[in-house]
């Protein structure tokens, strides 16, 4: 990718995520080793904050799905050719908010918007049925999951997914996903 990336907006946005309620944050290349070390950090955090014990399992599960979503789908940008991702987890008023961000091509916006809106419109039972349909159908699963991750996250949290796209340049957008765990 040789196009110029204007990261000012992304940097400004990232800086607003980190406040007193932050329990884990990361910005940079998302690799398998980085994911392993972030999981380890998260486990240490939950093992030392026993008041959050009830949220431990679901949070680690959602963390793995959301950061692996970046690993599998992030657009590689700039001359460094890396899968750049942003991740933040904040604890506020008995709930945990997970925010992820990664670059995508413009043509992914409609697909993602339709998919998330569909997931948000479904009931618990409908999500379960859709999950099983996609799980058991090879055509949907060609590229590491085929959208199963978002359905799974939505099933487990029971909350609606929030999303936003920041315009970076003519062809590239920054995709932000917010997941709430209560």
């Amino acid at each position: 990718m040789t196009e110029t990336i204007n990261n000012i907006e992304v940097e400004n946005w990232y800086n607003t995520l980190i406040d007193g309620n932050n329990l884990l944050s990361y910005r940079g290349e998302v690799t398998s080793d980085i994911i392993t070390s972030l999981i380890e950090k998260l486990e240490i955090y939950f093992n030392t904050n026993m008041n959050l014990k009830e949220l431990r399992k679901i949070t680690i599960h959602v963390f793995v799905e959301s950061i692996q979503n970046i690993f599998h789908h992030a657009l590689k940008i700039s001359d460094k050719n890396i899968k750049f991702g942003i991740f933040a987890m904040n604890y506020f008023e008995n709930s945990i908010n997970i925010i992820t961000g990664n670059y995508i091509l413009k043509d992914r916006i409609q697909i993602l918007t339709d998919r998330i809106n569909q997931i948000n419109s479904l009931s618990k039972d409908e999500l379960k049925a859709l999950y099983k349909l996609i799980l058991n159908n090879d055509e949907f699963l060609e590229k590491e999951g085929g959208g199963l991750g978002l359905i799974d996250v939505s099933r487990k949290t029971g909350t609606k997914l929030e999303y936003q796209f920041l315009n970076i340049n003519k062809n590239i957008y920054f995709y932000i996903l917010k997941i709430k765990i209560i």
Binding site: K57, H61, K128, L135, N136
Partner: protein
Amino acid sequence: MDTIVIEGTPKTPSINFDAVAGKIEIKGRSIPENSIEFYRLLVEWLEAYATAPLANTIVNIQLEYFNTSSSKCILDIFKKLENISKAGSNIVINWYYEEDDEDMLEAGEDYQSIIKVPFKMIEIEE
């Protein structure tokens, strides 16, 4: 047939596939980025086991976490077991879940509704 024994890691489960004992075990975490690669060996082992299975095969699945890319691979494992069951071998899948882990129980029930092999849901204390 060789027995497959693989130690668990922070991202992959421990494996014990024993054709002599008729025992198949997957325990721990299954959250690797490259699930297909990890499970390929196990699927191949089951294809070989299917050619001469024991009369009884016990399957123990005890997972703390699994990601959605593993979920498809686990289904592939179960489909191989379903074929072995159809060919006349008696198979039971013991699906273990931790006390209060309703998500893991529900995940087992999802598989149970897809796969025509008896499942036994077993709750374990944390």
